[in-house]
Symmetry: C2
């Protein structure tokens, strides 16, 4: 591969992102060649079927299997845009790296599970493994962590990393609609998959957070170390209470250095309306990084979609064309620390608790006692006898009927709070499962 | 310079940024060496005086002149942190590049005026000329434009690029105070220089915009092509009117492709309160980029200060240590187009006009006629007879006294609007100079 010869890429997967990349290279190929000092040539493609719309966008040589394309002597870079954390994606990426091909991928699931192994393989073979498109679509957060912030000790990285769930939460907040209704609407509009699990239960955000944590803290990617909680349990009553308290609810992904380890979690979180993240609405993503020298920087942009993701994939290819290389996770893989699932830590900002309390004498006192037993102090308790008939609140009415009670705690440990809520449920004073949402003063 | 040997840097200028860099390298030198695969060694320093606080932070070899340090056989990289667009900064940077040294600089004024010449010199000598710290402090916007967005045609880049003027405008908006009072306060707090010209008259933002436009559009940096307007003329009355209309006033720097050319301007601008930029307050900076594939990304962070700027300088040095190189303005200098001062163009969103109109029969009609002559249509006209006695509004009172009139135009050309306002002033219906602020729907 010489300096002015074309960089020959093979693209596996011609769905949304692959098609976007073909459009980008068709439209900007000449400009990119000027900027890189060499052209990017599509030397091979493969996809599920030659009948896919993406497959008809190019006349590049067709390969029947990703693994065949991955090791073809005709390519320098294998661009994996198929998805999936095992099977053809894993096999072909391994094959490509083993054959000394650079790899560019948008596959967050693959890297969250096999990132360290693949990075080691890339190092052995002196090739790049680039994945800007795997985190937050068009937002250049991978490069920012990999290159721009290397003079910093990063203490925290957090953000809104899943556009589908952010769209759903934004609609719920604005329209007062329940989760199920908004999800159905998002599915009809194509913003959510038929099986929305990955988006609304937090796995997708957790895959991305796994990669951000690895880059930020010099640890091996470990998806299993992320605490995970989705948005299915959030109700209009929670949005109403949050609004009254001056908060928004977002699915926040946060990884931070705490007590010698790293705490990584994806969970619905209340944050002040004035927070920069609170106004990131709809399908946008955003990532904030705290570094000891830079202070805080925040990047906002489209977290998904054909064209923004193709922009990120193109930047990874261009880096290879320009000869910009480095270990995938900044440090040589052997130097990455292992990351275990952290203990629950004290966290800043307390918790929001919503209970349906049977309105009987002594109920609130009993609940408060259970909290005190766990040394949890309460900032406020609001009993909403006159609450509207919102899903998530019990219907208010006669004495003995369940009444919504909203409590805000001072900062506490999550395990203590869970203990207290378990006792409260066992005492029989509340109906159903307590709602518990972390509050972060971001 | 071999792969695992130390990268030897010489630092000229040990003021705010230079001291920050010394602290950063002292604190994170080992971590950086691990990340780069090689250490960064400070092989020489020079500053105005050995008595400067910064000079006492290091025991590195002392050089009496920047030009001597620039060409020393002991250094690989010359780090210019002196400032100034001529004299020692220009001479030493030229000398360093000519001697085959890489250059890292935070000097926006120098590059806005001599960027193309210096870039050509860097190319001839096959060395880097890096300047992440020259634009928006700790925000990695130079790398984002230079590398992350190369798959895009950038259509617009804009932002809030001067923290001092943003601090002043934020205080004026929140406290209702006049410009002079807030400026004095900012000077007392050290946020503004004794001579605030560069900040409040827009030159500093224009230097940065010049560099952003060069990177975004592939043009030679041309400071003289930027239309420039500062914030001295903004009054509490303007903030009050903006607030009532749903706008904020920011010193906006914007460069956009328009009608085959590039329009670059720094000017006070009204933008909707809901805009992402409207909530960037105080000394923060922010930069937005519109690209045809990425859509829009926005970066927010500290635009100045010792530590954030040092973070950016360090990233430039680390890129050199890792062997990541490329032409300073993306394209080889010979391929950069020249950029002339653009004609005023039609712009989206109209203008805000505030006049002190002598309250006489026919005055408003005469003003409206002058607007109509220039084919400017008005979205709204508000005559504020009961306006409070705010600086910037004439005192309301008897017929014949000046009364504040606020007009919002539909989109128009600036030259037509200026013609209309000239005629209105000549007609003698208004007191003083009309206020005119662009409205951008960002």
């Amino acid at each position: 591969m010489k300096a002015h010869e074309p960089l020959r890429i093979g693209i596996a997967g011609l769905g949304t992102v692959g098609s976007g990349l073909l459009h980008l290279l068709a439209g900007h190929g000449e400009a990119i060649a000027e900027k890189c000092g060499r052209p990017i040539a599509i030397a091979g493609v493969c996809a599920k079927s030659r009948e896919e719309p993406g497959a008809k966008l190019t006349g590049a040589p067709w390969f029947d299997s990703p693994a065949g394309l991955a090791v073809s002597a005709d390519i320098d870079v294998f661009v994996e845009l198929m998805g999936g954390d095992k099977g053809p994606a894993l096999e072909s990426v391994k094959a490509a790296l083993g054959a000394g091909k650079h790899v560019v991928t948008a596959n967050k699931a693959l890297l969250a599970k096999h990132g360290a192994e693949l990075a080691a393989l890339a190092e052995e073979n002196c090739v790049s493994l680039n994945f800007e498109a795997a985190v937050a679509g068009g937002i250049p957060i991978v490069k920012t962590l990999r290159e721009s912030l290397l003079g910093n000790t990063v203490t925290r990285v957090y953000g809104i990393l899943n556009g589908t769930s952010n769209y759903i939460l934004t609609r719920m907040q604005r329209e007062g609609l329940p989760f199920g209704e908004v999800l159905a609407e998002a599915q009809a509009l194509g913003y959510a998959e038929a099986d929305p699990t990955f988006d609304v239960d937090g796995q997708d955000a957790a895959h991305k957070l796994t990669l951000l944590a690895a880059l930020a803290f010099g640890v091996r990617p470990n998806f299993d170390a992320v605490h995970l909680e989705g948005i299915r349990g959030i109700t209009p009553a929670d949005f109403q209470a949050a609004d009254e308290l001056g908060y928004r609810i977002k699915l926040l992904a946060v990884a931070a250095k705490k007590g010698g380890g790293i705490e990584a979690r994806v969970s619905p979180t209340m944050m002040p309306k004035s927070s920069a993240l609170a106004s990131v609405d709809g399908v946008l993503n955003c990532v904030a990084v705290d570094g000891d020298f830079v202070g805080q920087i925040i990047l906002v942009g489209p977290g998904a979609g054909s064209r923004p993701t193709a922009s990120a994939v193109a930047s990874d290819i261009i880096d290879i064309a320009r000869g910009h290389m480095g270990p995938p996770f900044i440090l040589p893989t052997a130097k990455l620390e292992s990351q275990s699932r952290s203990q629950m830590q004290t966290h800043e900002g307390g918790y929001y608790i919503r209970l349906s309390v049977y309105d009987r004498p002594g109920a609130i006192a009993a609940i408060a006692t259970r909290m005190a037993e766990q040394r949890i102090s309460l900032e406020s308790v609001v009993q909403k006898r006159d609450a509207p008939d919102l899903p998530g609140f019990g219907r208010p009415g006669q004495e003995g009927d369940p009444t919504p009670v909203v409590m805000i705690t001072h900062r506490t440990r999550e395990d203590q709070l869970r203990n207290a809520l378990d006792s409260i449920v066992k005492d029989g004073h509340v109906q159903g499962v307590p709602q518990m949402i972390r509050i972060e003063a971001l």
